[in-house]
Subunit: 258 residues, 2 copies
Amino acid sequence: MYDLNDVNGTVLFEEGDHKFIWLGADPNAKQGVIQTNQFLIIDKGRGILLDPGGIHLFSRVVAAASRYISIEKIDTIFFSHQDPDVSSGIALWLGVTKAKIYVSKLWLRFLPHFGIVDSTRVLGIADTGGSLPFSSGGSLQFIPAHFLHSVGQFNTYDDRAKILFTGDIGASVFPEGSEYLYVDDFSAHVKYIDEFHKRYMASNAAIRKWVSMVEKHKTNILAPQHGALYRGPAVQSFYAWMSQLRCGIDLIDEIYGR
Amino acid sequence: MYDLNDVNGTVLFEEGDHKFIWLGADPNAKQGVIQTNQFLIIDKGRGILLDPGGIHLFSRVVAAASRYISIEKIDTIFFSHQDPDVSSGIALWLGVTKAKIYVSKLWLRFLPHFGIVDSTRVLGIADTGGSLPFSSGGSLQFIPAHFLHSVGQFNTYDDRAKILFTGDIGASVFPEGSEYLYVDDFSAHVKYIDEFHKRYMASNAAIRKWVSMVEKHKTNILAPQHGALYRGPAVQSFYAWMSQLRCGIDLIDEIYGR
């Protein structure tokens, strides 16, 4: 179980005018609906939301973010990919903020199907990535994570907080009541990630490409969109486990069933 | 340009009490928003909708389908995958019909993020596929099409109409005003499909697996979710072109940019 305090979120990093915040667990989460993490970066009084989530979480995430910043000061929203649990609240978020939205350019033409969307406020990230400078110095880097699972997915690396936000990579699926916030014992954690990664990650070749990019960055916390956060030695343990994983197209005969 | 008549849809197959209908083009389609096809199968007075689409098309698709059947007679809805242009209207469709929804089991836990959804009406298709019998005889088969692009995607094969609905596979992206309904000259059509398939399809290995399954079925029309329908010899030409395509993870160094 999450600690009761976790419902309201936790500041994962704070130094001067820069904070990286986990926005807490949904106390009304239902069995059968995947749990999602939302993150808020505050830099010099401006907010950046990472994967604010779908329609059904909108009011909870507005309330959670409001404990740390006025919603109108959120000027940037990042979507790791196009899935409903990431981005289906897009029209609502465009309504309550003046934020620009950053997402893989692969999804620009698809997102308007969520509802009426002002496309001048949705900016496409090129396949090779990019970065946004922080006012306080340093930057939020967009790191390619394509095919893991989405064909157009990005991670973000906050080079002040040294936190890598990984979208679906590293996601854990806990049985009800077994949740915890931090992975401290990686080998005991594998049972919660094995099945998901084998089926949703597209291939070992894509994993190795991704590991070769992210391992260049010193990472204190690896933060997925679902489930527990990896910290300390668990980050390297996760890279090592992923690097040897056969998944997706590597298992295609088994998945297609003949 | 589509023919003016195409705005209202076209019956692609009709025999006795079985019809397969393309539900027409959106006359208000905007540049920068991907065009989508919706299909309606009517069998002995009951309706099956294939990829009815996102929130922003809902009223148009209700109107188009109503020209052929009363909406309350639609008892089955199929989603090829989880993207917003396919499935973000889920809560609206559950509201106006009593239909059951069929989608890859991979997305069952994700779809509730589109809004409040009665999960007892959403049925997961196992990775290896399945089928729904038609009252009139024959069946609608669910054929695996995983990783093309979605990691959990299905095609449907209507073995009465001999129409294969392929989701994102075969999607064409036309410049405004260049649209046509049928691919008759495949080699002239390649320029509208090449870029999309190279980037969104996950690998040649997945394509070849898919081709080995669909080529077993006599197919008069191959109907994607976007753009033109393949008929006659264009179906085999498309399979041959796909079988040699290097795409996605085959081009991973290029896509990741280093």
